[in-house]
Structures are given as C-alpha cells and as structure tokens.
Amino acid sequence: MSSTHASDRTRKLAGPLVVLALLALGGFFVANLPKGPDHPRFVGAGNPEPVNGGTFQWTVGSNVRTLDPHIAYDSVSYQAIRLVFDGLLDYDPDGNLIAVLAESLPEISADGKIFRFRLKDGIRFHDGLELTAEEVSWSLHRMLSKRTGSPGYAFFSALRGVADYHEGKAERIEGIVVEDRLTIRFELTHSDQTFLNAMATTFSYPISRAHFERLGGDRTKIAQHPVGAGPFAFEGWERGVKLSFTRFEDYHAPYARPDTMVMWENVDATTAARRFRNGDIDVLAGAPKVHLLFFLESEAWKPYFTLEPNVAVFGLAMNCEMPPLDDVHVRRAIAAAIDRKTITDYMLGLAVPAGQPLPPQLKGHDAELETLQTYDPERAKEELALAGYPNGLPKPIEVWIGEGEGPRNIAQLWQSDLEAVGIPVRLRQVAWATYLAETGKEKSVQMFSSGWSMDFPDPSNFLDPLFHSRSIHPQHSENRSFYRNPELDRLLDEGRAEVDPEKRAALYHEANAIVARDAPWAFLFYPVDFDAWQPYVKNFRPHAVWSDYRSVWLDLPRRPATPEDFEEARR
C-alpha cells in the first residue's frame, strides 16, 4: 500500500520535474550560445588600386517586376535595369545631370524648345549592335507607342507630334529628328526644361533593336531578357529568387567592377540585416529598428555606414476644398502645432525636420525661409483664433494614415500635439490601395499623411504634381490637397520653361515660399536613408537619385576579421 502511495507521489512530481529539467537545459543552452561579433566578419585584402573581380551580392525586399526599361516604374526594378542599360543622360551621386551615352549635355536653343544630342562614337549594345542616333530614335518610338503602354509617355508630352504618334495618327514623332549617324534633335511644342530629366529616366534608355526583333517584339520575353549598353550584361533570372549579371568587357567607359552581380529578391528586412551581419551579402539598404540601433552603437561599423537624406518629403496633406481646411488659418495652425523634433527623434535619425515642400538638395529650398513651418503652439492658437475658433475646433478632423505600426506611432505623436492646441483628430488607418484611390478624389478625405519621392531631382517634380492646379482631376488627382493658386501656377509654368538656371532657381524659391505659407500640407520631415557595406566593398557612395551599386569594386580576397582590425575605428 505505502509503495503505491510512493509511486503516486513520484508520478505527481515527475511532470513539474520534467518541465524544470527542460527549462534548465534551455537556460544552459541559451547562456552558452556564442555571441555574434560587434564588428564586420570580414575585411578586404588591401589592394591599393581598384581591381576587377568577385561576386557582389545584395538583397531586395520584393520582386523585380520587369527588366524592360520602358515599362519599369519601381525602384527595385530600376536597380537591375541600371546595371544593363545606360541612357544618354544620367545623374552624378549628388544629383547633377551628366552625359553618359551622349558626348556632353545637349545644346539647347535660346527659346528652350530644341535639344541637340551628339552620341559618343563606337558604343555597342551587349549583342554587338552599334548605338546610333537612328537606334535612339527607334527605341524612343517604341517606348512612346500606345502598344508598349509605357508609363514614361507622361514625361515626354512636350515632344512635338507625340500625341498623334501615340494615338496611331502618325507614323513618326515629328519632334524626333535624326540629323546624322550620331546626332539626334528633339523639338518641343513649348519650352520645358524638365525634358532633360525625362531624358535621364530609365524610360529613355535605348534597347537593342536587333534583340527586340530576334524576340519577335514579344514584350514578355523582352521584360525577361534585356540587352542594353550598360556596364553589366544580363546573365539569368530565377523568378522570385535572384538575378545575375556579368561584367560587360566592351563597356564604353571601363572601370574596375565585380565579375558578377547577384541580386537576391524577396528577402525580408530582418533576414537581410542578419545575412549582412553574417557576411553573406555585401551591402544593406535600410535596417529594422533593432539592427539600426546595433549599427548606431557599434564603433567598429561606424566607417561602413551612412545616413544620407533622401530627396523626398513627408507630411500631412489637407484638402483645401473641405471645411475647416479650406481656411488657410486652420491649415497654418496645424502646420505650427506639430513638433517635428519628436517625430525625427522617434525615427532614430532616419528623418530630419521639414518645414517647406522642397528638400534641401533641390534648387529653391531655403533654410532661412521666412514662411518656414515650425513648431510654435502659441502661433497655432493665434491662427485658430483668426479662423474664428478661439476655443479650438468644435469637431474632430478625420485623418487617414497608411498601414502598419510605424505610421500609427508617428500619427499618435502629432495627434497629441494637435489636440494640445485645440485641434481634435480622429485617426483612420486604411489599406494602401484604398488610400491612393480615395485621397485622389474631390472632397473625399479631409486630411491624410502623405509623402512624395521624386521621379527626378528637379523642383518641378515636387511642386507641379503636388500643388499646380493643372494636376487636379476629379478622380486620380495628383494634387491631392486640391490646392489652387494662380500665382503659384504662373511661377511653376515659368520655372518649367526658364532656360537660365539662376532665374529658374529664383522662380522655384518663390513658389516654395508660397506653398509653405499657404500650407496645403504641414511638412513634417525629409526621410534619411541608411546604407551599410562590408569593409571589402569599395567605392560605394549613396546616390541622390538611384539606389544602386554599379560603381562598386571588391577588395578581394576577403579574410575573416578580428577585433584588432577595428581598433582605429574604435579610437
């Protein structure tokens, strides 16, 4: 009998004991795990001069959608496309226009309507076809035809005869004239200096006509087998997994670069950060908070990452046709009520405070702007009183914000600022697709968090779509705040047409000040990009326009790093 009791007791104790034993085992295991190094795992060989060779690898969070430069309209596809293709024009890392396939920047007529390009001689596509003015013309005609359906058409609307050609009413675009083997002229219906930027977009990149014809013009095949005149030739694409490119030996402007470039698709940000810290990939663009903190705190990593402002602006857009935001004083009150610093602090330095539409990199931005929107709760209350609301707004304003935890947390920061001065706010988090469709409709959404990333680094690309009355449409309005100001429209039209860079900058300077003063947006911050690279990756420099790695070379063979390799950085 007593032995049965004893075995019952043992059985009752067995469960908790097993749990305790497993927990103890787990604890022991965790305590004895190796710690990851706080420094890069590999360093370079110390080659004194740039060398060719090696495989450069990086990851992106989603898919490359297409490799057809005339169709692609997303930053991930651009990364791949810009390895294979070159354009007549491009930007240097600071965002200044430079000639690439063209000998120099084009000759522009005094009235700003004619652009003459001279191509470099002897340039060949990867398939051996020679690049001539006729090929450039053919490629642009292909891009601008309705059959191709390129989103790039919208950037070339000033070309003479382009609409007739697009609609199938003309065989050729009148405004594209091949003068001789290497000279091509573009004629516009009116002066539009953003045409230079259009010629630096990927939409203008020449593709090989011979290749196009070999593929029978099949756009799906062309989207997957690109042939351009860029520094790397396309090698292969395992859809959804990776793309690879090899160095093009006959590149027209040779420089030291890797033998192979491998772009891994669909790697989530956290996994990418782990792979980078593990030394599996060579660069990292952006990092989740926990990894960002790691890099910011690591002395050894300090020389190998940058925080560079992006040419973009984020803020709160206000529908100027909907009360009470149709009153400029209410809009100014909102712009003055928000403390930008708390937002940028929350973003761990991945943003700098804004108070005007144009980012610091663009002509027209003014750090000393008189109409600058800054945090001033008292002024906010005064503006509310001027609008007839001395005791604050009687009804809350509905504000739409994007999906995810980040936008919600940021919204809560400005929500409390607004409520502190008497502007109650009701937040509504909506799906991206709904947000895009509804905010573009007339009198649909009162206020919404908004952002703009440039198509090209020119003030017109910010002010025209966002604030010109021409950009207002009943549906799909680009000017989503439905702000109208004839004076601003005039300045923007003159700015687009002005050939003299100084006069042009002055026009945008004035336009920028008007928008800041009339506050169709409360401008909150300019985003900052985090980029890190392994010590053996050389010549990486964040680019003002593109996120790509075509300039890098690898200091190989790499070797495992020791803490001593980073002593200088730590000091």
Binding site: L33, P34, D74, D268, R277, A437
Partner: protein, 331 residues
C-alpha cells in the same frame, strides 16, 4: 465509390466557381488597382492608360465575362486583342488564359509555375517533420501513458501548439543560423541541394505546430486502441507484443492521421505565409500577400482558383484514403 467521386467533383466545381466569383467582385470593391500598381506618383494620364491596357475601363460584367472567356477579350495588352472588334478573340479561363499579372508583367500561370514547386518543397519537408516527429512522439507517449516520458512529450506539445511561427521563426534564425551557424540565414539557395539545406530550418519551424497536433491525436488514438478487446484477444492468443502494437494498436490509430494529411494538403499549396517571409523563401505565400496588397486581381484570382481546387482534392483524397483503410466505411 465512382458515383460518389463524380458527385463530389460536381460539387467541388460549383464551390470553386462561387469562390472565384466572390473574390472577383470583392477585388473590384477594394480600391483602384491602377493606383495601387502605379503608386503614389502616378499621373492621371498614366492611370487612364493602365486601365485601357488591362480592360479596367470596361463595365464590370464585361470584365467578368471576358475573364471567364465567354465574350471576346477586353484587355488591350492581350495577344487576343485587336483594334477591329470583329477580329477580337477570347482570352479567359475557358481558353486556359488566366491573364497577366499587373505587377509581374508576365502570365500568372507562369509566375505561379515558378513559385509553386518551392512552396510544395517546403510544405512537403514540413509534413515529413510533422509525420515523423508527430506520429513517432504520439505513439511513444500513447504506449506509456502517465509516465515521465509521456509527460515530457505532452509538455512539448503544449509548447508546440502555443508558440506561434513569428516567435519560433526569428528565434530559430537567430540561434541556429546566425549564432551557431548550423543552417544558412534564410533564402532559397541556388542548387537543388542548397534548396533542401535552406529548407530544413523553415520546415522544422513550420512543422512544430503540426508535430504537436499529430502527437496529441496519435497519443489519444494509441491509448484508445490499446484498450480494445481485439488487442486483449491478440495478447491472449500469444501474439508477440511488437506485432500486437504494430498490427493492432498503431494501424487502427492511423485513421485520424490520414484524414488530417488529406485536410492539410491545401496548406501545402497556400504556403506558409509567415514562415516564407521570415526565411525569405520565395514561394506562393509571399506572392499572394504581395498580389493582395497591390490589388493584382489576375494573380489573386489565379491563386484563389488553385487553392479552391486543392481544397476539393484534399477533402476527396482524405475521404477516399479513410475508406481504403477502413473496410467498414462505404460511400
């Protein structure tokens, strides 16, 4: 049996059509795909052009009928389109054309064709983990109920069913891949061998929940079977204990597991969305989420069709499998 299968197939066809139609109209109520695909910078003229190309400027019922293949094509970017209305061909499901993805610029069947084998590989690897460890642990525990071994297994199954993938996934990646270096840090690799190497850790993570469920079900079934009269009779007749356990105890305990395998088949295809994301596994799960977010209707509809068909097949296989294993069941 064959009449039953035919009846089930007809019912499955009806359900699939209903699911497809519901999703088709739901997708159109969610927002504007042109805006979602082209993004915040899209100009009004670009959106208009996109809608023309994809036939989204046509009335909804025309889009639906064209998608089914009952009227000529409304998509200007389809090879079936012609500017001459009389020369337009059909380009719908009935013609085997599921359309072109808005974001991949390729036929949805081709894109799914790339992704499906990867998702299947991960799913099959996870199922192997579930079956081997789940059924093994369940039998082990069921043969010695109330012992320390049984309690240890049960404790493990509690953990397995309680820990979500978004906890175990990143933890496994951190500990076993990054810190210990036993596995690659996510990804899919480049060769078939690498695919398997890269798949082991996500398959283990994905299989944890299923292992726990199989173990609990099997344990209960084994305990139940071992108490049956026929087991006692077999023992009384002097049948060796190993044979009693295998032929009488375990065989009869496997029926629920077979049903569960059948029901989990659609899960193999739908993909482990969270696991695929954590481990950067480029399968159907990640593709589906991306398509839903971008309102890529042709992709969402094609994936819906695939899932619906798989659910029907999975259910049918489960029923047939059970009938084959248990002669008492007749349809």
């Amino acid at each position: 049996m064959s009449r039953y299968i035919l009846r089930r197939a007809a019912f499955g066809f009806l359900v699939t059509w209903l699911v497809f139609t519901t999703v088709f109209f739901l997708m159109n109520g969610l927002g504007d795909p042109a805006a979602a695909v082209l993004g915040a910078n899209a100009q009004e003229s670009q959106i208009r052009q996109f809608k023309e190309q994809k036939g989204l400027d046509r009335p909804l019922h025309e889009q639906y009928l064209s998608y089914l293949g009952l009227i000529p094509c409304v998509r200007r970017d389809s090879p079936a389109w012609s500017d001459d209305p009389g020369a337009r061909k059909h380009c719908g499901i009935l013609q085997g054309d599921l359309g072109e993805s808005y974001i991949h610029h390729d036929s949805v069947t081709r894109v799914i064709g790339h992704r499906l084998p990867r998702t299947l590989l991960l799913g099959v690897m996870a199922m192997v983990v579930e079956l081997v460890f789940g059924i093994g642990a369940g039998i082990f525990a069921g043969l010695r109920p109330g012992t320390t071994g049984d309690r240890a297994v049960m404790f493990g199954t509690y953990l397995g069913t309680s820990l979500p993938t978004y906890v175990t996934g990143p933890l496994a990646l951190l500990v076993f891949a990054y810190l210990l270096g036993w596995f690659p840090v996510g990804g899919y690799g480049a060769t078939p061998l690498e695919h398997i190497q890269h798949g082991i850790l996500p398959a283990l993570v994905l299989g944890i929940g299923g292992t726990a469920v199989y173990a609990r079900v099997m344990r209960g079934e084994v305990i139940e079977s071992m108490r049956q009269e026929y087991v006692r009779t077999a023992r009384a007749k002097g049948v060796p204990e190993g044979r009693v356990i295998l032929a009488h105890g375990i065989r009869n305990s496997l029926l629920p597991a077979v049903t569960m395998i059948g029901l989990s088949l659609p899960g193999l295809v739908s993909g482990a969305i969270i696991t695929e994301k954590i481990f950067a596994w480029p399968g159907l799960g990640a593709l589906t989420i991306e398509a839903i977010n971008a309102l890529d209707a042709p992709m969402v509809l094609a994936v819906t069709l695939l899932f619906a068909v798989m659910v029907q097949i999975g259910n049918l296989l489960a029923d047939v499998g059970v009938a084959l294993m248990d002669p008492r069941i007749q349809y």
